[in-house]
């Protein structure tokens, strides 16, 4: 399993958690990497806490279990932090990416997290640009800015091929805005 970067997404059904996981995998695939993206199966219900997973690697990926010790945790909805142990298993040298109005310093203390933290107010970006709290694309902007896991251009390319016309344009704007407005602690 050496060389595999593992990402775990937390959010609620309807926020596009599974799509975020898949878009990230597709962006990495575009860069010639081996990828895997899958939901925590069968739990997808509007509003319920759900998880999705992405693996990215230079070498072929064999493992097919869920992800228990992620390098990166992405939280699309800050309210799941109350019910889900989002930092469980997160590697000390990993990243915690959260959609929140809070500063990373505050969150770091609240969660007693050892990992590096990046935050962004993705909800307000999504409400303004997409007209709905669909934070799955903007949060990828923050993920890219902080972790450099994939290139921003790759994410934009995938959004262009996944969505059409104005929807694609606004999602790209949302990604770019989140990229710029990312707050980072611990680097």
């Amino acid at each position: 399993m050496r060389g595999i970067v593992e990402v775990r997404f937390h959010g609620r059904g309807g926020q596009g958690v599974v799509t975020a996981s898949r878009l990230l995998a597709e962006a990495a695939l575009l860069e010639g990497k081996k990828v895997q993206s899958f939901p925590a199966f069968g739990a997808e219900r509007e509003g319920a806490p759900i998880k999705a997973f992405t693996r990215i690697s230079e070498a072929p990926i064999y493992i097919r279990s869920q992800i228990y010790t992620p390098n990166i945790v992405v939280v699309l909805d800050p309210t799941v932090i109350r019910s889900e142990r989002v930092t469980e298993g997160l590697k000390d040298d990993g990243w915690l990416i959260v959609n929140t109005i809070k500063d990373p310093e505050v969150l770091k203390e609240e969660l007693d997290a050892k990992a590096k933290i990046a935050t962004v107010n993705a909800t307000s970006i999504a409400l303004e640009l997409l007209g709905a709290p669909r934070v799955n694309t903007p949060i990828l902007g923050t993920l890219v800015k902080s972790t450099r896991l994939v290139k921003l251009d790759s994410v934009i390319s995938i959004i262009k091929s996944t969505f059409k016309g104005k929807v694609a344009d606004m999602n790209i704007k949302a990604v770019e805005r989140a990229y710029q407005e990312t707050k980072i602690k611990g680097v």
Binding site: M1, L29, V35, P39, F41, G42, I63, R64, Q66, Y68
Partner: protein, 401 residues
């Protein structure tokens, strides 16, 4: 050779994409989790004019298989997909399809059977249907789903075979997992898979009777021919795999060997869990432990000779089933078959069964490390205490939740 397209596809999408390129004449299917995406994509392809097929939205799986049988008997290339309860409801017609020698291809996204209601993955569905005369291929990932869906049509329709084929992939773990899949061009698929050439199609100009009564004076001969055809199909399957490998740069065999050189103990796996097991083998190898893995790709017909060859010289084999055959002597069907296949072999390895991952229980590398520890202990003691042990379960004698 020009670089091929790599698409992001989950297992269901990979199946649907391959089916589209195989140009079936008739698709009759009823959506059921976790196979649903296959049916959705195929109906999209037909509605959008990308696939010129008759799409029959049937009211049940029994009807799905019945419609495929009728279409296939007319000479059409017929396809369906199902899972779990759907396959169970189809059961009666599965025997009809194989006994009519109809080359129907069916994808199965393996899922547990009720009760309790469970939509997640194990192989109770197809393992329960192992004696209905269908060829069964089990796939580890989306790439294999894609490649073997195409090969399944070629195998089924070969005049030396003429049997229906189930192409199985694990529900959710493969069906809903997106991976990069290197796809062939339409032209490449066309060159590998010519249009179907039916042997005795229903035709009013040249009438034939299919499905009449088989009195005791004839029935055994018909069943004997079916058995001979099924057993013999293994040579044709190997030949078709070779051609596919050579044409498209793959390296598939009916049994896959992973790090078996110098191995004393080995895991024998089937389906997607093989991937996680390979990680465990890598970890054990890094510690210098003599461990390997064999993955069975073909369960029907059972690849006895290939398996005997691969397993000879090993001290212990741990057979990982994804279901329980209740009250059987060996826990799971795969374990039973492997032990039976090895019985007359000199210096046969010890064989222990590990039914695991029932109803979608997530099986991790650690589970396999425990299984391998058990195998190494058996090798050291040269003795087996138990025929099988359930893995990934809370219960006396089970290995870990």
């Amino acid at each position: 050779m020009m670089a091929r397209k790599v698409l992001a596809l989950n297992g269901d999408e990979a199946a649907a994409y391959a089916v589209k390129q195989c140009k079936p004449d008739v698709i009759a299917a009823y959506p059921i989790t976790p196979q649903t995406i296959i049916v959705e994509r195929l109906s999209d392809f037909v509605a959008d004019g990308e696939l010129d097929a008759e799409f029959i939205a049937v009211e049940s799986e029994h009807s799905a298989m019945s419609a495929c049988i009728g279409a296939s008997a007319m000479g059409a290339r017929a396809y369906t997909a199902t899972a779990s309860q759907g396959l169970a409801l189809m059961y009666e017609m599965l025997f009809v399809a194989s006994s009519f020698r109809l080359p129907i291809v069916m994808s199965v996204a393996n899922r547990a059977l009720n009760s309790p209601l469970n939509i997640w993955n194990d192989m109770s569905d197809t393992m329960g249907a192992r004696d209905c005369g269908w060829i069964q291929i089990y796939n580890e990932n989306s790439q294999e789903v894609y490649d073997f869906t195409i090969q399944a049509f070629r195998i089924a329709e070969d005049h030396r075979v003429l049997l229906p084929v189930m192409v199985c992939h694990d529900g959710f773990v493969v069906s809903h997992s997106t991976e990069g899949v290197e796809v062939l061009s339409d032209g490449e698929v066309d060159s590998f898979l010519p249009p179907r050439d039916p042997v005795y199609p229903l035709d009013v100009e040249k009438p034939v009777t299919i499905g009449c009564v088989g009195v005791p004076e004839y029935y055994p001969e018909i069943k004997y021919q079916q058995e001979v055809a099924t057993k013999k199909s293994i040579e044709t399957i190997k030949e078709i795999l070779r051609e596919f490998n050579e044409s498209f740069g793959r390296s598939y065999g009916i049994v896959e060997e992973y790090r078996t050189d110098g191995a004393e103990v080995a895991l024998l796996t089937i389906g997607s869990i093989s991937g996680t097991a390979k990680e465990a083998v890598d970890e054990m190898r890094a510690e210098g432990k003599p461990v390997g893995l064999l993955k069975l790709r073909l369960f029907r017909p059972f690849p006895i000779e290939a398996l005997r060859k691969s397993l000879s010289g090993l001290k212990v084999v741990g057979v990982v089933d994804r279901h329980i055959s209740f009250g059987s002597c060996m826990g799971g069907a795969l374990n039973m078959e492997v032990r039976a296949a090895l019985y007359e072999m000199k210096d046969r390895p010890h064989v222990m069964g590990f039914p695991t991952g029932l109803g979608g229980r997530d099986i991790r590398v650690e589970h396999f490390l425990k299984i391998i520890d058990e195998l190494l202990m058996i090798a050291e003691q040269d003795a087996l205490e138990e025929e099988y042990k359930v893995v990934g379960c809370r219960g006396p004698g089970c290995i870990g939740p």
